[in-house]
C-alpha cells in the first residue's frame, strides 16, 4: 500500500504535465498523501541481527571444543568480557543514537553470548541437571532486553527459546510446562502488539500454538480440546483486533495462524474412526491429579470468555450475521462445543460408557463433515460471487481433499464413487464457469498506474 502511495506521488508531475490533473489537484493529492513513512533500518537489523546470532552460535561451538589447556577461569573471563563488551557497545551505540539497528544487533550479540555462557558454565562445572532450564533462563534474559530496548530481534529470540524449552521438557522429561504459553503470550505476544510488529506477532503466534500443544496436552485424549481451543482463541483475538487501525496486519496474522491449525484438526475429525479413537482415549482411566485437569478447565473457561466477548461485540456492532463471522468464529466454536459435548455427555449418562461413546463419535464426525462442507461451499460461493481467485482455489482444494478422503472410508460402492467423482468434476466445472461469468460482469477496476493489471 505504501509502495502504491509512493508511486502515485512520483507520477503527479507527469500527470500534471500531460494535463490529466491540474496543479491545484496535484497539490491537494500531495497534501492528502503524507509520503513514504520512515521505516526501521530493516537491512541493518536483518544482516547485523543474523550476524549476531551466527557469531553467538560460533562462540557456543568454539567453547564446545573444551580445550584442556585453557584454565576454567580463562574460559570464564572470556565469556564475561565478551558479554560486557557486547552490551557496552550496545549502550554506546544507543546513546549516540546513530544507527538503532547496530545497537540492537550489539545487544542481541550480548544475549547470544549470555546463552553461550550458560552452556559454558554448565560445561566447566559438569552440570547435567535438567538442561531445558538453560533455555528458559536464556529466554528470560532475552525478554528483559526485548521489553527494555524495545527490540523485535530479542522478542523473536525469546519466542523461539520458550518454544524450544517447552519442546525439550516434553521430549526429554515428558513434562508439560504450563507456563510456556503464558510466557509467550505476555512476553512476546504483548510486545508484538505494543511494537506493532507483524514479524514478531507471527513468530509469537506460532510459538504460542507450539507451547499450548506441548504445555497443556497432559494426556493424549485432551489434544483436540487444546488444539480446537487454541484455534478459537486465535480467531477471537483476530476478530477483536480487526478495528485496530494502527496494526491492521494483526487480524490477518492471527487468523492465518488459526486457520492453519483449524482446518487440519477439523479434517481429522471428519474420519469416523479418528473421532472414535480420540474420544475413547479422552476418558482417563482414573481420576487425574489437579495439575493435569486444572489447566484444561482454565483453557476452556478462557476460550468461552473470549468468545463471549467477541459475540457481545459482534452483536452490538451488528456484525454477527456476516460470512466472515460465521466462517472464522462460529464454525470453530461449534466444533469445539460439539467436541466438549461428545466428550462429556457419555460420562454424565447412567448407562455404560461403551453404549454412548460410539454415538458421540458419530455425532462429532457428522458435525465435522458438515462444517468442512460448509467451509468448502462458503469459499466457493464467496469466491465466485466476488471474483476472488484465492478463495475459489482454496474451496476447490478443500473439496478435492474431502472427496478423496471420503472415497476411501465412506463409499463402498463403485457406482457411488463414480457418481461422486462426476459430481465433483461437474461442480468444479460449474465453479469455473460461474467465476468467469461473474468476473466479466464486475466493473473493470484497474490500477491507474498499471493499466491492464488487476488491482
Amino acid at each position: 500500500m505504501a509502495k502504491h502511495e509512493h508511486r502515485i506521488l512520483e507520477k503527479l508531475d507527469e500527470w500534471t504535465a500531460a494535463g490529466l490533473i491540474s496543479s491545484a489537484q496535484a497539490a491537494a493529492i500531495r497534501a492528502r498523501e503524507p509520503g513514504p513513512k520512515s521505516t526501521p533500518p530493516w537491512g541493518i537489523m536483518i544482516f547485523a541481527g543474523s550476524g549476531a546470532v551466527v557469531l553467538g552460535m560460533g562462540v557456543i561451538l568454539l567453547f564446545a571444543y573444551n580445550w584442556d589447556q585453557m584454565h576454567k577461569f580463562g574460559k570464564l573471563a572470556i565469556i564475561f568480557t565478551a558479554l560486557a563488551a557486547a552490551h557496552t557497545t550496545g549502550i554506546i551505540l544507543r546513546s549516540k543514537n546513530l544507527t538503532p539497528g547496530f545497537a540492537d544487533a550489539a545487544f542481541l550479540l550480548g544475549t547470544m553470548i549470555f546463552g553461550a555462557g550458560i552452556w559454558l558454565v554448565a560445561q566447566i562445572y559438569h552440570i547435567s541437571a535438567h538442561y531445558p532450564n538453560a533455555f528458559v533462563v536464556w529466554a528470560i534474559g532475552a525478554l528483559l532486553f526485548a521489553w527494555l530496548l524495545p527490540s523485535v530481534a530479542q522478542g523473536l529470540l525469546a519466542a523461539v527459546l520458550i518454544a524450544t524449552w517447552a519442546c525439550c521438557e516434553a521430549v526429554s522429561y515428558d513434562s508439560h510446562p504450563v507456563a510456556a504459553p503464558l510466557l509467550v503470550l505476555v512476553g512476546s505476544g504483548w510486545l508484538a502488539w505494543r511494537m506493532r510488529s507483524p514479524v514478531l506477532l507471527a513468530v509469537a503466534a506460532v510459538s504460542f500454538v507450539v507451547s499450548m500443544g506441548v504445555g497443556l496436552v497432559f494426556h493424549a485424549g485432551c489434544v483436540m480440546v487444546v488444539l480446537l481451543g487454541t484455534t478459537l482463541m486465535l480467531e477471537s483475538a483476530a476478530w477483536l483486533a480487526r478495528d485496530c487501525a494502527s496494526f491492521p496486519a494483526a487480524t490477518r496474522i492471527l487468523h492465518i495462524t488459526g486457520i492453519i491449525l483449524y482446518l487440519p484438526v477439523l479434517f481429522i475429525l471428519t474420519f469416523h474412526d479418528a473421532a472414535k479413537d480420540l474420544l475413547r482415549n479422552s476418558y482417563w482411566s482414573d481420576q487425574p491429579p489437579p495439575h493435569e485437569w486444572l489447566p484444561l478447565v482454565v483453557l476452556i473457561l478462557a476460550v468461552m470468555g473470549l468468545f463471549a466477548g467477541v459475540w457481545y461485540r459482534a452483536v452490538t456492532e451488528q456484525r454477527f450475521n456476516t460470512q466472515k463471522f460465521r466462517s472464522h468464529l462460529l464454525a470453530p466454536a461449534l466444533i469445539f462445543t460439539t467436541y466438549l459435548i461428545a466428550w462429556w455427555a457419555p460420562l454424565l449418562s447412567d448407562t455404560a460408557l461403551s453404549i454412548h461413546q460410539p454415538n458421540a463419535a458419530t455425532m462429532l464426525c457428522a458435525a465435522a463433515n458438515a462444517l468442512f462442507i460448509y467451509h468448502i461451499l462458503g469459499n466457493l460461493w464467496t469466491g465466485c460471487r466476488n471474483s476472488r481467485l484465492r478463495q475459489v482455489v482454496g474451496g476447490s482444494l478443500l473439496l478435492a481433499v474431502w472427496i478423496f478422503a471420503r472415497f476411501a472410508d465412506l463409499f463402498d460402492s463403485l457406482l457411488v464413487r463414480g457418481t461422486m467423482f462426476m459430481v465433483m468434476g461437474a461442480g468444479l466445472f460449474a465453479v469455473a464457469v460461474i467465476y468467469q461469468r461473474n468476473k466479466s460482469h464486475l466493473p473493470a477496476v484497474t490500477n491507474p498506474l498499471n493499466p491492464g493489471k488487476e488491482d
Binding site: I60, L61, F63, A64, Y65, N66, W67, D68, L76, I79, F80, L83, A84, H87, I91, R94, S95, G110, T111, F114, G117, I118, W119, L120, V121, A122, Q123, I124, Y125, H126, I127, S128, A129, H130, V137, G141, L144, F145, L148, L149, Y173, D174, S175, D286, Q287, P288, P289, H291, E292
Partner: protein, 205 residues
C-alpha cells in the same frame, strides 16, 4: 531512566552467570570431596561437545536403605486407591547419606530419605516415579551424570583404557565429587583404579 534499566538488565545477565559459576566454585573450594565408582559411555552434546555419561553405583538404592518417609511415599504410590495422584513422570527429590571408606575415599549409600539428614555427608538426587519400586530405586540423577571433556577424547573413556594401560585392559573409573552443604554435587576430577580387568574377547585377539 531507560538507560539505567538496560544497565540493570545487563547486570542481571552477568549475575545469573556469576551465580551459576560462583556457587559451583564455592563448593569445589570449600566442600568435602568423596570418590564415586562409575561406568562411562561417550555421547556428544550439541552445545557442549564431547562428554562422558556416568552411571554411578549410588544411582541404585536398595529398599533396605530407604528412610521412613521414602518408604511411606513408595507404599502410597503403589496403593491403587491413592496412587493416581502421583504422575509416572513426576520426580521426587532424595537426600542420600553417604558412608565413606577412609582408606580409599570411596563413598557408598548409607541410607536415603526425603529430607536431609541432621549430620554426615549427603548428596541431593532426583528420581522419577517409574524408577521407584518397593524393592529398589534405580537411575537416581545427582546432576553429575555428564563429564565434559575435550573433543576427541571420549573414546578413551568409553574403552576405559587410559594411557599406560595395556590394550584390551579395562580400568574401573572413579569420579571425585565435591558436595556442598545443601547436597549439591560438583564433579572435580576422575581417576582410573589400578585394578584392571581384561576383556576376554579382546585378549584373544
Amino acid at each position: 531512566m531507560r538507560g539505567k534499566l538496560i544497565l540493570i538488565a545487563v547486570l542481571v545477565q552477568v549475575l545469573i552467570l556469576g551465580w551459576m559459576a560462583g556457587e559451583r566454585e564455592w563448593i569445589v573450594r570449600t566442600a568435602p570431596t568423596v570418590w564415586l565408582r562409575t561406568a562411562p559411555v561417550d555421547p556428544r552434546d550439541l552445545f557442549r561437545g564431547d562428554y562422558v555419561t556416568l552411571g554411578y553405583e549410588i544411582s541404585t538404592i536398595p529398599a533396605a536403605k530407604f528412610g521412613p518417609a521414602l518408604k511411606q511415599l513408595i507404599a502410597e504410590q503403589d496403593d491403587k486407591a491413592v496412587g493416581y495422584r502421583h504422575s509416572y513422570e513426576c520426580e521426587i527429590v532424595l537426600y542420600v547419606t553417604l558412608k565413606v571408606d577412609p582408606a580409599t575415599g570411596l563413598a557408598s549409600v548409607a541410607f536415603a530419605d526425603l529430607t536431609p539428614p541432621a549430620a554426615g555427608v549427603f548428596i541431593k538426587g532426583r528420581v522419577r516415579r517409574y524408577n521407584q519400586t518397593a524393592t529398589a530405586i534405580t537411575r537416581v540423577s545427582y546432576g553429575i551424570d555428564a563429564y565434559y571433556i575435550q573433543q576427541g577424547r571420549g573414546s578413551e573413556f568409553e574403552r576405559r583404557n587410559p594411557a599406560g594401560l595395556a590394550d584390551g585392559t579395562q580400568a574401573p573409573m572413579e569420579m571425585r565429587v565435591a558436595i556442598g552443604h545443601n547436597g549439591t554435587a560438583v564433579l572435580t576430577g576422575h581417576r582410573w583404579r589400578s585394578l584392571g580387568m581384561t576383556s576376554q574377547n579382546e585378549a584373544e585377539h
